[in-house]
Subunit: 209 residues, 2 copies
DNA sequence: TGCGCTGGATAGTACCGCTATCCAATACTG
DNA sequence: CAGTATTGGATAGCGGTACTATCCAGCGCA
């Protein structure tokens, strides 16, 4: 497949494809002559993943690069898979604020309440702390009851997520990382639709107006 | 409170406060002389909300402006509250892609499966469609079983969210809109922490290492 | 043989969220 | 009442990001 065909099938403009190549998001094609290179289905797929992560999940090019690099690594053990996943999840959280704290009191309280492990080195712990602090400052603090409900719901979601991860280690990383990321917006949309559905029910609004 | 005091108590730099005033995110203070104005606690609170929406939720200044404008409106009936909330939720979804379609097949299938109302005019429906399409293109499609699990979990979350909305109409809008937005990152963080907790359990990893 | 695509490089653009500077008017301070 | 600091208001600049455009020489294909 020539680059022009890759552009056509993927729908991504040529300058953008070149940009992704430059930035190392897209691996170069197999060179066949000094001004020719051959691209394959994996390039089409990779482009779809890149666009999903950037456009739908809203990640930066830098974050996508990190995640794609992690996907390339084939874990040699379940523990290594776990480690790679942890680092991938870490890059999902916007790292604009380094938040180099060593204790996250709100997150710790929440996790203890949920009976989950509190380890301040997890990036998601810092993210939780920031979110809880912001909610508090904005006047809509997350009460313990809210934490209970949210925690239980997310546990069900996570349970399902883990079950769906394929056994085969190489596929597992990509599936888990990309899946976690792109299913996030699905969850957010479903939450909003549930709001609207429940509110409509409550108001006795039956259908479109 | 002078503007310098507002800057001090809020922690937001003076140029940024001026910027928010210019952009209409922060209402002007009560003018007391041609070069003086008086700010109150509501300005401090407003700044906290703005920072939470921009820094933690990741909204654009334009989105924040729209949402704050909606908050100002005092609904006169539950139906109007519902309408305002719907529009607020609409602005939460990134509007970079207009997606002016009139049918969203993936979203419709998902909502029918969940027994929820499908109305293509809801912004969240378009968002769901985009997320499902991206997941599909990226090779991690949301299966019907996943939709079931996610839908049920989000329904529990939404149920709780609605219960917590105060009766008083003026407070209700702000609470519902800001709460929906800032609790989103809390949910995302809890999902990732649930992943890690369950994965650690499964691997027999008991603590930090 | 010539036309056009290709890889590669470099430069430019558009937007966003601030941030900095300047100014004149005015308020407080001694 | 003089002097200094602060304020509102306006304008301009900055730094980052994600592209987008242009140019070029060298092929490859017809």
């Amino acid at each position: 497949m020539k680059i022009s065909e890759l552009v056509e099938t993927s729908g991504v403009p040529l300058p953008t494809v070149k940009y992704y190549l430059r930035e190392g998001l897209l691996p170069p094609g197999r060179s066949t002559g000094r001004t020719r290179a051959e691209y394959g289905d994996e390039h089409v797929h990779r482009l779809a993943v890149i666009r999903a992560l950037i456009e739908v999940v809203g990640l930066s090019v830098q974050q996508v690069r990190t995640i794609l690099a992690l996907i390339e690594t084939a874990p040699r053990s379940p523990a290594e898979l776990f480690d790679v996943l942890g680092r991938a999840v870490g890059t999902l959280t916007d790292a604009s604020q380094p938040a180099p704290a060593e204790d996250y009191p709100r997150a710790r309280a929440a996790l203890e309440r949920l009976g989950q492990l509190y380890d301040p080195r997890y990036a998601a712990v810092a993210q939780l702390e920031r979110a809880l602090a912001a909610a508090e400052a904005a006047g809509v603090p997350a009460t313990p009851e809210r934490i209970d409900v949210y925690g239980a719901a997310m546990r069900q979601v996570a349970q399902f997520d883990l079950e769906e991860i394929p056994e085969e280690p190489a596929a597992a990383v990509e599936y888990a990382v990309v899946g976690t990321a792109v299913h996030g917006p699905v969850l957010a949309a479903l939450r909003r639709l549930a709001h609207q559905d429940l509110a409509a029910q409550r108001l006795g609004i039956t259908g479109a107006e």
